[in-house]
Assembly symmetry: C2
Homo-oligomer: 456 residues x 2
């Protein structure tokens, strides 16, 4: 990075420029702050590359994982008050109350939520991730992922398919019925199958294979879902699960090409949590959106969020919908990009441009650009269109601010009103403001003064 | 084609040059021979593009399809006498006799085969195709494929997995045991599953999806086999097949990434047979190799073969083997190229270069070159790396001879000795001599004299 010399960051903030220069430093001076950050980043990225996320179990109800949950819901993105939440997240919360039986109708649910009797906290505060509104309620089943390298756990909910689904803000009777079926039939079936798989299902292996098969394992999981289907089918048959329940469960996964999305997210969460908590590291360990703001976390900066207003994804819309109907960027799924998938591995997925727009050349260009803002190429994640180069992994906020290149995220698009659902898919960038805020905080933590010189 | 003017074909045969000039003709003269061939080719390729090959059944034993089979075996490629056959084909035939119980040991099998008491005929003479040595014996189960557009049927045997398998010339006890298991367990399971799938499994749909997922559905069928696994798993569970047999069957398919190869071949056979028998058409309807010679068939020229000596594939070898161990090009699987897959769709499968050598750019270049020798782009077969252009389909012998560009085939490589098996995978070209021979025969059929003028 220092080879190219320092250039003023895009937003032309002179104080930030000073701080950034100090944080980049001189790679020939091992005592400088930049070199200290480099060393911390090497530790952080090594833990990320060594992660081996395995799907080891299904908890039949979230409350088994989080006994303290009570009448709380988990939601996507950084913290946000009920009144500030976007339409689809409010719609999802209403649906969760109906599913839990805490309210008899949407109006009663809205009253309960507005009263504060039911509270909402970020999934990320509980080692969990959920796509789109990311609502997890106490009765929902939860996948349990373990990083075999360091033993840390991560959790996610079940994918409900596409269209009118809770995660996109829909909450009618069909949505609640499906959630009940997932709880009563699918989750016990998969739990029984997983009990027969020694060591669990190797999620990163599936992610890596899927990159060779046209997925970027965020917005396209067609191959990954098939690989998961293959991994689970025979153990399920042998598990003694009743033929009808086994058949229903496999049919649902077979018909849900995004089934693996949640598992890809939990694998990414377990992977990035492994790199979290390294003192002085400028590596991003989470990107999450609540539909109003985007928040990022930094390895060195504990559980803090660095936020900026979310943007509207640009993409292709289902018939009858258009850009003006789109909600702001939403969901924990950008944890996939944090771990090198999605927009970062877009080169692996030319077929995805059929869903989000653009050309295969553009998809490859997105991945290529991400090498400029990341710490490593993951040799286990080969991108065929880039001659099998490893996927770009580990966003360094210094590189983002130095280059002005923002992380690119492939994403579903929700209708901005509650109760409607998915209306398209596209591409969005992470706001520069998140990185600016994180840089100021990291500089403060490192004791760098406004003139770019360390205080002591 | 005429836009570029005529150039002498690579082999510099002046008589062939005259014949070719007449067969290319002048597209502005609708009465000329070239225009008549163009019209015939439009009919032939339209039937190819309209084909809808469906897997509709499993015949539990080949003799149910061909009651006249008696003690005959089908083999890959054009006809060849026992004494002339290559090592792996002889090894496969020996294995088939052991499997059928016609001989107690390999020596007895060799005696029977040498005596002519067991005869061998090409698969293609019976609407069948088989990969590598392509041996089909009366007790083997056979897949039944029907082209719903024209009603024609095609057949193929079951894929045995990789390594030491009959089709590559191995014939030890493990090979025979697996063949028995395929006959007794796998085939009845799949027959029961297929009976529950209304209309059968749409093979071209699977081929098209797999092209978006890194397969060229000849030498790489990883995604296609998963898609087939998905199509068959739930019907199999619901079929009432015993849990153990269903589990074993699905495990075998799950562990056999080339399981779909044979189905891709039968789909291609059903597709190209639909375009066969169009008077005056210069379209190739089959490419097949018996390990000594390569033969092609022409739509206009009945059941005749036009042959030339086979070449040795170039590629990558499994540890311990090298180029000198390789048998000449072998198998009916080049029917896939005839239908636009394999080498023709290589652009879809950058991951395949990991198996056969080369680079993704080379894979794309192979596909691009094939547009120069084919009649159409199949809009239902999108190649992502070429901005979703349709795969090149329908080889025109005139274009091959005019350009000197030979069809490229992706292929497995057998050891040249009987009893060993697969030793690698690579790429090979179809010899120009096949096209020269076919051109002379077509010219004769069309009554063109040696000076390039029609006789009357």
């Amino acid at each position: 990075m220092t080879d190219q010399g320092w250039r003023p960051p895009g937003n032309g903030d002179p104080r930030l420029a000073h701080l950034l220069a100090a944080m980049i430093g001189d790679s020939n001076d091992p005592a400088c702050i930049g070199s200290r950050i480099d060393r911390a980043n090497r530790t952080a990225i090594a833990r990320v590359l060594a992660a081996r996320p395995m799907l080891i179990d299904v908890a039949l109800h979230a409350r088994e994982i989080w006994p303290e949950m009570g009448r709380t819901l988990w939601h996507a993105g950084p913290p946000i008050a009920w009144q500030e939440m976007c339409g689809p997240m409010q719609g999802s919360a209403v649906g969760a109350l109906l599913y839990e039986g805490w309210a008899r109708d949407p109006e009663a649910a809205l009253r309960l939520l507005a009263s504060g009797a039911v509270e909402l906290e970020p999934c990320h505060h509980h080692r969990a991730v959920g796509p789109m509104s990311g609502i997890i309620s106490p009765s929902m089943p939860v996948f349990v992922v373990r990083n075999e390298d360091r033993g840390n756990l991560a959790y996610t909910n079940f994918n409900e398919g596409i269209g009118k689904v809770l995660r996109f803000g829909a909450n009618d009777a069909s949505v609640i019925r499906r959630l009940n079926w997932i709880e009563k039939v699918l989750a016990p079936s998969l739990k029984a199958a997983l009990a027969r798989i020694e060591g669990g299902v190797p999620l990163k292996t599936i992610q890596a294979q899927a990159l060779l098969m046209g997925d970027e394992v965020h917005s396209r999981n067609t191959a990954a879902s098939l690989l998961f289907f293959k991994a689970i089918a025979v153990p399920l048959i042998k598990s003694g699960t009743a033929r009808r329940r086994a058949g229903e469960s496999l049919s649902f996964i077979a018909d849900t090409p995004q089934f693996f999305l949640n598992l890809s997210m939990a694998a990414s969460k377990a992977t990035m949590d492994a790199g979290h908590g390294v003192s002085e590291s400028s590596m991003v360990t989470a990107i999450a959106r609540n539909g109003v703001n985007v928040g990022i976390r930094l390895s060195a900066l504990d559980e803090r969020w660095f936020e900026a207003p979310a943007e509207v994804p640009a993409g292709l819309f289902f018939p009858g919908y258009r850009q003006e109907d789109a909600n702001l960027d939403l969901g924990d799924s950008a944890i996939a990009e944090t771990a090198g998938f999605g927009g970062f591995s877009f080169a692996a997925s030319p077929a995805l441009v059929q869903l989000v727009g653009g050309t295969p050349a553009m998809a490859t260009a997105y991945s290529s650009a991400m090498y400029g803002i990341t710490l490593a190429r993951d040799p286990s994640l080969a991108l065929p269109a880039l001659d099998f180069a490893g996927a770009p992994v580990g966003i360094d906020i210094r590189k983002v601010l130095d280059s002005g290149v923002r992380p690119v995220v492939t994403t579903g698009i929700a209708h901005k009103l509650a109760g409607i659902g998915q209306i398209g898919a596209g591409v969005v960038r992470v706001p520069l403001g998140c990185f600016t805020a994180a840089a100021y905080a990291l500089a403060a933590r490192l004791g760098i003064e406004g003139n770019g010189v360390a205080a002591s």
